[in-house]
Structures are given as structure tokens and as C-alpha cells.
């Protein structure tokens, strides 16, 4: 058991780490899009990767979800993520395919 002041410093550092990591993860994709560079696919991949990492950072340091303790919360997140992937992926796939078959551009 650690002392209260020690625990407080640790909790404070969690938020500090959160914002210190989230800031560059926000800045880089905005800078890349604003000042251009690279093909559209590369840009989209960079934006997607940075967003994913930043979400994990927010879950870890702001919502204090970790792999070590209280696994039920993590399992809920993972199951919701699975449902989201199936539903979003399915919707985008089906609607995209429908648009192609209706002879409309699939994406702008």
C-alpha cells in the first residue's frame, strides 16, 4: 500500500501522460492534412493510425482502463468494438456495393 501523496502523484501523472501523448497525436494528422504531402490513401492511413492510437491513450490514461485489473470493463469495450466493426463494416460494404451497382461513384 502506498501513501496517499504518492498515489496522488501517480494519478496526476496519469492525466499528465494522457495529455502529453494525446497532443502530438492530434497535432501530427492536422499538420499532415493542412500542409499536404503524400497520396490520399497514405494520408487516410496516417489519420486512421493516429486516431486509433490516440483513442487507446485516452482509454488508458483518462478512463484508466488497463489490461491488468478489472478485466470486465475491457471485455465490454472489446465486445462493443467487435459489434461496431461488424455493423459499420457491413453497412459501408453493402451501401458501397449498392452504389457501385446503381452506377454511382462509390466514393468521392
Amino acid at each position: 500500500m502506498m501513501s496517499a501523496s504518492e498515489e496522488e502523484r501517480k494519478d496526476f501523472h496519469s492525466y499528465l501522460w494522457g495529455i502529453a501523448l494525446a497532443l502530438p497525436l492530434t497535432l501530427v494528422p492536422f499538420a499532415v492534412v493542412h500542409w499536404g504531402g503524400g497520396s490520399r490513401l497514405t494520408l487516410l492511413l496516417v489519420i486512421g493510425a493516429f486516431a486509433l492510437v490516440q483513442m487507446i491513450i485516452h482509454f488508458r490514461f483518462f478512463l484508466h482502463i488497463s489490461f491488468s485489473d478489472r478485466r470486465e470493463d475491457l471485455q465490454l469495450i472489446l465486445f462493443s468494438t467487435l459489434v461496431l466493426i461488424i455493423m459499420i463494416g457491413g453497412t459501408v460494404w453493402i451501401m458501397g456495393s449498392l452504389m457501385l451497382r446503381m452506377a454511382m461513384p462509390a466514393s468521392p
Partner: protein
Amino acid sequence: MSGEIIKHPGLNLGAAHGPDHDAAEPMIFGFWLFLMSDAILFGMVFATYVSSLSATAGGPGPRALYDIRSVFIETLFLLASSFTFGMASLALKYRHGAPRLIAWLAVTLLLGTGFLGLESHDFITMFANGGAPGRSGFLSAFFDLVPLHGLHVMGGCIWLISLVGQIARYGIDRQVKLGIMRLALFWHFLDIVWIAIFSVVYLGGLT
């Protein structure tokens, strides 16, 4: 993260808060379930938006309507407000007293309303440039998704004001503690939804 057993998502009050800490577990778990179902709701609206990207019907598209500078400032506002709410959670857990708790909550509220102000300004500019919801399927989907997040933030702000009122009226009792802890989860969750919005809608639309 701490020497104590973690009972629920978000900052745990810890054993020093006695029965309040025990009461938090089922309450916060239930709220966490709500947040996950809210995430599914957002996910489906995202799917609708992505499916409607090409349905501009000859109207203005993302490039004509989005302002990256404004969205960037809004993003910083929300990120900063997540941090200041974290400071409020610390003030609650380590009993820094009501004035410090209210001060951090007030800063969070200020950043939240600043975000809402900037976002409404964005929407008004979009309207002026012919980007009204009725113009095309794409714009309908946009105004389904982004203001839905804005309404959540507005709900969070109203909730925050009512919690400050409760602190003033009842002091920091169990109901107030559990309320602040649930609002903290809600607030951080909305910041995560915003990451998806600025990445998919704004940055994705402007590539």
C-alpha cells in the same frame, strides 16, 4: 496503477472514501454499459455518414464547407477540458475541498461552452455557404452526426452546472461524488468520440 483494487472504469475513489467507494462499483458499471450502447449509436450514425459521402446531389462537399483551423481549435478545447476534468476528479478523490473542485469544474465548463460556441459558428458558416441539412443526403448525414456529439456535450455542460448546484446545496456527499465520477466518464467518452469525428469527418473529408 494504485495499490488498491480497481473496481470500475475512471478514477476510483479508493478505500479512504469508505462506503462511497463500494457504492460506486455497481453505479459506475451500469453507466459504463450505457456509454458502450451510446458508442454503438454513434457508430451507426458514422456508418450512415460514410455511406452518404458521395450523395452531395450537386451541392457543396467537404472541401467547400469545412474549416480545418476552427476544427483544430475545437479539438484543443475538448482535449484541454478532458485534462481539467481529470484535475477535478483528483480534487474529488484527494479531498482538496469544494472550492478547488468547483474551480476545475468551472474551467471544464468554460472549455465545453467554448467548444459549443465555435461549433455553432461553424454550422452557421456552413449554412451561409449553402450547406443546410436539406441540401443533400451528405449534408443530412453530417448534421445527424456532428450535432449529435454537440448535443451530448451540451447535455454534459447542463449536467455539470446541476452538479455544481448540488455541491453548493448539499456539499460533497455520496450522490455528488457518484455524479461527478459518472460525468467524468461521459466527458472523457465524448472526447474519444470527437477523435473519431475530427479524423473521419473533417481530416478524412479534407484529404
